[in-house]
């Protein structure tokens, strides 16, 4: 029986694996050659200003394909698709690619200038640092104190179930790689994570695939709060979305690093290196930071290390990719979050 299931799964997997899914593909022709092919998890709209600015400096044709982080992994790990640069918010998957020898080394003045926590093995380079935040609906919190940390949040949820029942949102970590990354880092950083998940489960928490939808739901008032939302997205929406409040916890803030790497199969590694240099020095282009809403890596951002914790690149990230570990974590999480 079990083998039959496995066979079925494998067949299904093989069918899927025959081609990874690209959500969107854009082409930016330029006179220069060779063509730089980028596979990325960032929306094409978000990334377009960067590509335009890059092409102003280096007239190189660029193809920009958008895929989910799992698809990026599949394309590079299983299919060895021909891309020159992989940009992903899934730090764990990027780390696995580098650890398993599927990334090329690259070093330049720009990458040397990066802080040590923003690169690994000269193969993975971070160019943004995006915190996980709490997004609140201002109306819902009219009469309530703003939670400052996770213990405070737990107390608040317990004390006011009538306000929060069915009005809490968070990532469905089974679906979202980023949600899984944030949740696992939470579980590692604090004991209160599982209590919080329990409490959220009792209050019929709604699960989402993406930060954008959670922010929308909070803005509409469907949700009173959303936990572990990507801060950069919330910040970008703050101006045109009235009624939302962003809270950074003061016990700790997990910071996701958006990273780039050059796959082993790259055919234009020089062009990819130029793009990495460009991304690594984004802090010198406030116009691009404003246009994309992507907070650049800044030296000294890890100064307040007790609270702001950039997720550490390195073999530690492989732990939560372990099949058994993932199974165990998801089982615990599901049993906590789905109680009804």
């Amino acid at each position: 029986m079990r083998h039959a299931c496995l066979a079925l799964l494998l067949t299904f997997w093989a069918a899927l694996a025959s081609a990874f899914e690209i959500e969107e593909s854009r082409s930016y022709p330029a006179p220069g050659s060779p063509e730089l092919r980028i596979l990325s998890t960032a929306d094409a709209d978000v990334f377009e200003p960067i590509i335009k600015a890059f092409q102003a400096l280096h007239p190189i044709s660029i193809t920009y394909d958008v895929a989910s982080s799992a698809q990026v992994m599949q394309a590079l790990y299983d299919e060895e698709a021909g891309y020159d640069l992989a940009i992903s918010s899934a730090m764990d998957l990027q780390t696995k690619l580098a650890n398993d020898g599927l990334a090329q080394r690259y070093s330049s003045d720009a990458t040397t200038a990066l802080p040590p926590w923003a690169k690994w093995r000269d193969q993975i380079f971070a160019f943004t640092q995006e915190p996980a935040v709490l997004v609140l609906n201002a109306d819902a919190f009219k009469d309530l104190p703003l939670p400052k940390n996770r213990a405070g949040l737990i107390a608040l949820l317990r004390d006011h179930p009538q306000v929060f029942d069915g009005r809490i949102g968070t990532y469905d970590v089974r679906v979202s790689g980023l949600g899984y990354l944030f949740a696992t880092q939470d579980s590692r950083n604090t004991e209160s994570f599982w209590r919080l998940t329990e409490v959220m489960g009792r209050l019929n928490t709604r699960l989402y695939c993406c930060s954008g939808e959670m922010i929308d739901a909070v803005a509409r008032g469907e949700l009173a709060l959303a936990y572990n939302v990507l801060g950069s997205y919330a910040q970008a929406r703050l101006a045109d979305t009235p009624g939302i409040v962003i809270v950074e916890m003061d016990d700790f803030v997990s910071v996701m690093l958006r990273t780039a790497l050059i796959p082993q199969t790259a055919q234009a590694p020089q062009a990819a290196g130029l793009m990495i240099d460009f991304l690594a020095s984004m802090r010198n282009r406030p116009d691009l930071v404003a246009a994309t809403g992507l907070p650049p890596v800044v030296n000294g951002a890890g100064a307040d290390e007790s609270v702001i914790r950039p997720i550490r690149l390195g073999p530690g990230l492989l732990v939560f990719l372990d099949r058994l570990r993932r199974d165990t974590f998801l089982r615990s999480w599901v049993s906590s979050i789905e109680q009804n």
């Binding site: 398993d100 020898g101 550490r312 073999p315 530690g316 492989l318 099949r323 058994l324 570990r325």
Partner: protein, 459 residues
């Protein structure tokens, strides 16, 4: 200094040999440091690997009869803290992969038990250090669990290259310091030899005292031999000087008797040819007696030069005294002696007897070689050095003779008709040199003849 320039130098040999030893020690030191340090870093990596594998093995559990493992975050993250090496793991249950990298091989090492086993192998194109930790798990039946953790050796290579750099730097510094010290040590060890060589080199030509400088025991036989040699030489010289003194004495006394007798006979002779023969005889006796006197003088000068009895002397007194003594002889030949002395009193440090002897010999020579009815000028010229000049109007010197004139028994080529010993100027030269001065022979600028000058340092 002399030793370093010599074709075969003890110091160079010492330095080269010590430098070779230092180089050898540096290399040994370098290798030892590298081996020890690399063992230590390898042991460190092994320890971390073992800790990682052990913590994974400890996280294996059974859940409703199913064996599972929950890999601790720290198990892999600890491997990432030291270096940025790639990390692989493989958990095997009863020979089947439970989780991890399925193709990661189990290190093939002998032995069993719970101790971690290590091996260095090739995996995914990189050299990895792998560890296996074995556990048995007692669920419904006994399960065998193997945990393999492997790490590439990039960090190790980086540490190793740092160690190599440091070890090289230390080795080079050690070598340079040792070489510098050995140069210094060689110099120091050879210093007594140089001192001895210098002491012997600095000796005057007639200094035959034994070497008394303090010498290390290694040089004692050499110095002993040298002193024995000097003693023999000194004895031989003394013997010959004694012989000369003795001979001169023995000759002079009978000659005086012969001269007195001859003069008495001369007074009694009536025939002019007989008187002429006797006068010649008397002259010959005089010359012989003078030669014997000069031999005595020379022997005395040689002896006294070794140990000068110096005192402050007015050179004017010397000249005055010599002129007084030899005026009668000069008068016999109708030679006038003009004494030209400066007003100021000069001072010379020296042995009075030797200096008198020298001045007398110069003046005696001048009188002897001056024709009758001429003038001799005796002059004292002050200056940086005191010049005691005696100028005659005689036949002068042949230029080619001047250089060899002061040699013993050497005489001018134009004086064969005059009887002489060839010792006069030798005595003067020896005295001058014993006093740190010189003998100057120049032609007389004011006419015929020559000037003989005793140059002495003024005090």
């Amino acid at each position: 200094m002399t030793a370093a320039r010599a074709p075969s130098s003890i110091r160079r040999r010492l330095v080269v040999q010590l430098a070779l030893v230092a180089a050898l020690l540096s290399v040994v030191f370098f290798l030892a440091l590298r081996v020890v340090a690399e063992r230590a870093t390898e042991a460190t990596q092994d320890n971390i690997l073992a800790a990682s594998a052990t913590s994974i093995a400890d996280a294996v559990y059974t859940d409703a009869g199913v064996v599972r493992v929950e890999i601790p975050y720290s198990a892999l993250s600890m491997l990432g803290t030291v270096s940025e090496d790639r990390v692989f793991y493989h958990v095997i249950l009863d020979g089947e992969t439970l989780t991890g990298y399925e193709d990661l091989p189990v290190p093939e090492t002998r032995g069993a038990g719970r101790d971690p086993r290590f091996a260095t192998t090739l995996y995914r194109g990189d050299t990895v250090r792998a560890v296996v930790v074995r556990r048995t798990l007692n669920a419904d039946r006994i399960h065998r669990v193997e945990v393999v953790v492997a790490q590439t050796r990039l960090g190790l290579a980086a540490i190793s290259s740092r160690i190599t750099t440091t070890a090289t730097a230390i080795g080079v510094v050690f070598f340079l310091a040792a070489t510098a010290l050995s140069t210094f040590a060689a110099q120091n060890a050879l210093a007594p030899l140089s001192r001895l060589a210098e002491a012997v080199r600095r000796r005057g030509p007639r200094d035959l005292r034994p070497v008394t400088a303090e010498t290390p025991t290694e040089l004692t036989p050499l110095v002993g031999g040298l002193n024995g040699f000097i003693a023999r030489l000194r004895a031989a010289l003394t013997r010959s000087e004694d012989l000369i003194v003795e001979a001169a004495h023995r000759v002079r006394t009978p000659l005086a008797t012969v001269r007195t007798q001859a003069e008495m006979v001369h007074l009694q002779m009536e025939k002019p040819e007989n008187r002429a023969a006797l006068r010649q005889m008397i002259r010959a006796v005089d010359e012989s007696s003078r030669s014997a006197g000069q031999l005595l003088d020379h022997a005395m000068v040689t002896l006294r030069s070794d140990q000068l009895e110096t005192e402050e002397i007015d050179p004017a007194d010397l000249l005055r005294d010599a002129v007084d003594r030899l005026s009668p002889t000069a008068d016999l030949k109708d030679i006038a002696i003009a004494l030209d002395l400066p007003d100021a009193t000069l001072r010379v440090r020296g042995d009075a007897i030797l200096l008198q002897n020298a001045v007398r010999n110069i003046l005696d020579n001048a009188i002897k070689y001056s024709p009758a009815d001429t003038q001799i000028t005796v002059r004292l010229v002050p200056g940086a050095t005191c010049r005691l000049e005696v100028c005659d109007q005689g036949r002068g010197f042949v230029v080619e003779d001047v250089a060899r004139m002061p040699e013993r028994f050497s005489r001018g080529s134009n004086v064969e008709d005059v009887v002489g010993s060839g010792l006069g100027l030798t005595i003067v030269r020896d005295v001058a040199e014993a006093h740190g001065g010189a003998l100057d022979i120049t032609p007389n600028t004011g006419g015929p003849g020559a000037c003989v000058t005793l140059v002495l340092p003024c005090s």
